[in-house]
């Protein structure tokens, strides 16, 4: 990162620090439902959506920030900046996007942007105060992407909450996610239908020590 990049990073950090906000990151593999959850949170507390969702992977390719999100639960209040990040992956194949219906040029652009998105998401790990890992509960939780993200957060002593999303689907297996990460709280939710989100909000107070 160049001098300007470092300056910008310090400036943004100072700006956030001034507001005394917690930076809450949504991390996870692509298509786990990070943006669906971000939209649920911002719709519930700000009345507006945060980003677009798509069945085609890597829809979120840039860091999205929504500042001053205040949630309330049982007389408590928590204000944070919500940071929705691009899905972290070890591979990105433009041909997968073509198979999903995109034109070749569009697919190649999406792949290029997605690789940059992954790099940015990794860079931003350092700046988080707390992180929600959003996993698709119908998928295998033992992936190296999941283990790497959580291991890096653990090394940085950043509090983690794991969300097993898509519990509305038959194949969802919360117990498997819990078995994969026994040292963390795992909350099963459906961000799409709002199932169990009250428990999720309550858990946010716990990981941010509020």
């Amino acid at each position: 990162m160049g001098i300007f990049g470092n300056f910008l990073k310090k400036f943004l950090k100072a700006l956030f620090a001034k507001k005394g906000n917690v930076k809450l990151g949504l991390y996870g593999p692509p298509n786990g439902g990070k943006t669906t959850l971000a939209n649920k949170i911002t719709m519930d507390w700000l009345g507006e959506e945060m980003g677009s969702v798509s069945p085609i992977a890597h829809e979120t390719r840039e860091i999205q920030i929504k500042e001053q999100v205040t949630i309330k639960s049982k007389g408590k209040e928590l204000t944070f900046s919500l940071v929705d990040t691009p899905g972290i992956a070890t591979k990105i194949d433009f041909e997968d996007f073509i198979k999903a219906g995109l034109e070749e040029k569009e697919a190649k652009t999406r792949a290029k942007e997605a690789t940059k998105g992954v790099i940015d998401a990794i860079k931003w790990l350092d700046d988080m105060d707390a992180v929600v890992i959003v996993l698709d509960a119908t998928k295998d939780p033992y992936s190296q992407v999941n283990i790497t993200i959580i291991g890096n957060l653990e090394a940085r002593k950043i509090p983690v909450l794991i969300v097993a999303n898509k519990v509305d689907l038959k194949k969802a297996d919360i117990k498997k996610v819990q078995a994969a990460f026994p040292q963390y709280d795992v909350i099963g939710i459906s961000a799409k239908y709002g199932t169990n989100v009250d428990n999720f909000y309550e858990s946010l107070f716990k990981i941010t020590n509020k």
Binding site: I88, A89, T90, K91, I92, D93, F94, K108, A111, T115, K116, V118, I119, I122, L125, D140, Y142, Q144, V145, I147, T148, I149, G151, N152, E154, A155, A180
Partner: protein, 127 residues
């Protein structure tokens, strides 16, 4: 034809993280599947993902990676103490890491004590 390349710990143990990752990515880009003795540190794995993303193009699609932990989690207290001591002495030498090009390895499944590796051809047969 699949080419497996075994990389003993002695070959990368003395390298700094950057050189280690460069070496691993170079081998993967030769369309070889690496069997690495030991495991990468968490920061090395995130750096490997970052470097992989930088190198993705029309030909190189990225990597598949999985590691096999040889420590059983449900063992007795004394066994756990023994493992902690061994890990302290051996460091990241314990376990096994598989890294391969995503164009060849379509999926690696860990369940959690065994690893299944699906290539493009085996995936086609499963369908």
């Amino acid at each position: 034809m699949l080419t497996l390349q075994y990389i003993p710990y002695s070959e990368v143990g003395n390298l700094g993280s950057e050189k280690k990752i460069q070496k691993l990515l170079r081998v993967v880009q030769e369309d070889k599947i690496i069997l690495l003795e030991g495991r990468l540190a968490n920061n090395e794995k995130s750096e490997l993902i970052r470097k992989t993303m930088e190198q993705i193009d029309d030909k190189f699609k990225g990597i598949e990676i999985e590691e096999l932990d040889i420590d059983r989690k449900d063992k007795a207290f004394l066994e756990k103490i023994k493992t902690v001591l061994i890990n302290f002495i051996m460091g990241s030498r314990r376990g096994l890491t598989i890294i391969g090009p995503a164009s060849i390895i379509k999926e690696i499944k860990k369940d959690p004590d065994k690893i299944q590796l699906f290539t493009e051809e085996s995936k086609r047969k499963r369908k």
